[in-house]
């Protein structure tokens, strides 16, 4: 077997898998989004864009992502720093932090629904302590902001561990010499964090942010569990158009919108968090 072709031959199965199960369906979706009974048409996009719910849907998804991802970033950084500094019990704490990772997002949504619904835990506590006379309707359509908060809580609880795990491994890659040198030069903990840790964590931050932001644009099961159709998000509308309204072209158009904003945010992160030329980790 020729030595030079060996790497490519080894890559071949994975490449074929990706082509068949990812690229081919992508191409099909793109064709669907632009096709109608008479061939190429922009009608699905027009239907989607002029629908009365579209603006709200797009805005809700972007707002959710804009709030959730920074909160998770800060929390994950603190959790990762705690884990990195622990000597005993490190593995236990790591396991506890990553328990929500084992849950499906629908299960996480249902857990938080059990807390917030009219006959749920929060209401039972409030009524039991005598703080309110009768159960409060937290998740009604009149308190849209309350459903927002519940979704944010559920998502932060569920998915911070993903960011944390990536940051923990990134932290482990930073050589101790940098911290020792910084201490010698009189840098306090906060200065060490901002001048040593964060810059060295750039590649991991880039990876974690890209992954988490793309996943945040696709938030679906948690929103459905907590708000039903009261809080429309892009993925929820895709699902609705495909299955309830049986219009696969508009559903494909929505999917392409999610793809577009995911690509845009990935490019932004790649640019902003790139490792400068010549720098090494």
């Amino acid at each position: 077997m020729p030595q030079r072709a060996l790497p490519y031959l080894l890559l071949l199965p994975a490449t074929l898998f990706l082509l068949v199960f990812f690229v081919y369906p992508f191409v099909q979706i793109a064709i669907l989004a632009f096709s109608g009974p008479e061939g190429f048409t922009l009608k699905p996009f027009l239907t989607m864009a002029t629908h009365w719910k579209f603006q709200t849907t797009l805005w809700n998804t972007l707002l959710l992502t804009a709030i959730i991802v920074p909160i998770q970033l800060v929390m994950a950084l603190s959790m990762a720093s705690i884990v990195a500094k622990l000597k005993t019990g490190r593995n236990t704490i790591l396991y506890i932090f990553t328990i929500p990772l084992g849950l499906s997002d629908l299960a996480a949504g249902i857990i938080w629904l059990a807390i917030f619904e009219q006959s749920g835990f929060l209401n039972s506590v409030l009524v039991g302590l005598g703080l309110t006379e009768r159960p409060i309707l937290f998740l009604g359509y009149q308190n849209l902001w309350m459903i927002f908060v519940a979704v944010i809580l559920a998502e932060v609880w569920r998915a911070t561990a993903i960011v944390m795990v990536i940051l923990v491994s990134g932290l482990g890659l930073i050589p101790r010499e940098y911290y020792e040198a910084a201490e010698v030069f009189g840098a306090g903990p906060w200065k060490r964090f901002t001048k040593v840790t964060l810059p060295m964590l750039r590649p991991s931050l880039q990876t974690a942010l890209i992954l988490r932001t793309i996943a945040a644009f696709e938030v679906f099961a948690v929103v459905v569990a907590l708000g039903g159709t009261t809080l429309p998000v892009l993925m929820g509308e895709t699902f609705n158009w495909q299955f309830a309204l049986s219009d696969r072209n508009v559903a494909a158009a929505y999917a392409l919108v999610i793809l577009a904003i995911s690509i845009a945010s990935t490019l932004v992160f790649l640019r902003v968090l790139r490792t400068p030329k010549g720098a090494t980790i």
Binding site: R134, G228, A244, L245, S246, D247
Partner: protein
Amino acid sequence: MKKTLRILAGATLAVSMAAFTAGAASAQVLFWSSQAAPVEETQKMREQVLKAFEGGVDFQPQEPGPFITRIEAEMEAGSGAIGVVGGLHGDLSRYADNWVDLSDVDLAGITASPAFLELGKLGTSEQKYLPWMQATYVMAANRQALEYLPEGADINALTYDQLIAWAKAMAEGTGSPKFGLPGGPKGLKHRFFQGFLLPAYTGSEVTKFRSAEAEEAWNKFKELWQFTNPASTNYDFMQEPLLTGDVWLAFDHIARLGEAFNQKPDDFVAFPAPAGPKGRAFMPVLAGIAIPKGAPDIDAAKALVKYMMQPETQAATLVATNFFPVTDAALPADLPASARALGPAVTAMTSAPDALAALLPVGLGDLGGQFNQVYIDTFERAVLGGQDLRQVLDQQADTLRTLMVQANAPCWLPDEPSEGPCPVE
């Protein structure tokens, strides 16, 4: 060598066993249904209703999309695995040419309702489908709600104005709104608008969608909404909030009210939907069973169809799904509480002197979901969102008009029959 032989023998045994079980499974009749889809109903269908059929039945309930997709695929292919199709009248009427004539199925002395048998002919001279089971939507109330009933109101002959007054009295008397609608994502609120509220005021389901009478109907509903539990936008099955006491007065499909009556039979009472200026509009739900022309074993399929019409099976179906029989077979004495409570309400409503039947959509097929969305959007925009009603009605009427033209579906009751797609005035 020995090891290879052993491996080969094991593989042959496994393959032949798999083929045997697959073969045994293929002796079962595949019952492809759009009804009895909720998990509990499916389980009861498999374990109680279909268990006694000789040869076994593979009961597969489906969501509307996959239900239609497979039927169309087998139609195009000319043959398939589906033995019996169970669906609503509207589902079956779309593929009228695909069904085998069932006139020769011997019903062994059982008479099915003549009106339903006539519907089952789908406008032809052949018996395209046999009626399977029927249902409708009724109101249910907690007995505690009865003390707030307005003076002189007969619970079996309410009007919408009396209903609003009743809901208002309850909201003021108890301090929180006690009327509930199935407004959740999987709730059947669109049937309330299509088959009850709008026809009661306009006498039509489609043509008079944006008329002045429709505007009146929606304004009445906005009044009622003030006294409706706002959690209604989360309710899919009204039996749950009725049981927890969050709601004292509810409207829903009888299959979604049954559990409340089964668990606390003495706490609830069922009664007909209210009447409006044009009559007591209601939506009858008729499900039928048909055999596609490409069925693998037509005799076994006909045997299953005959089995479904037997009195024991009809009674078991009632217990399993809360859908009522379509035959004159005597119902057993030990009916569950839900059937005993809901049956009289259904009869009172369907045989009321001012009863006005508004059918489920016919001939829309895949576009049924978008049809429902028109009414749901009107509700979400005008009632929940507070947008200008006239503007919403006009815009949604445009959507509805485009939809009817795309589906090329003629009008159905209570609208006058039309040439070509049903017009929206």
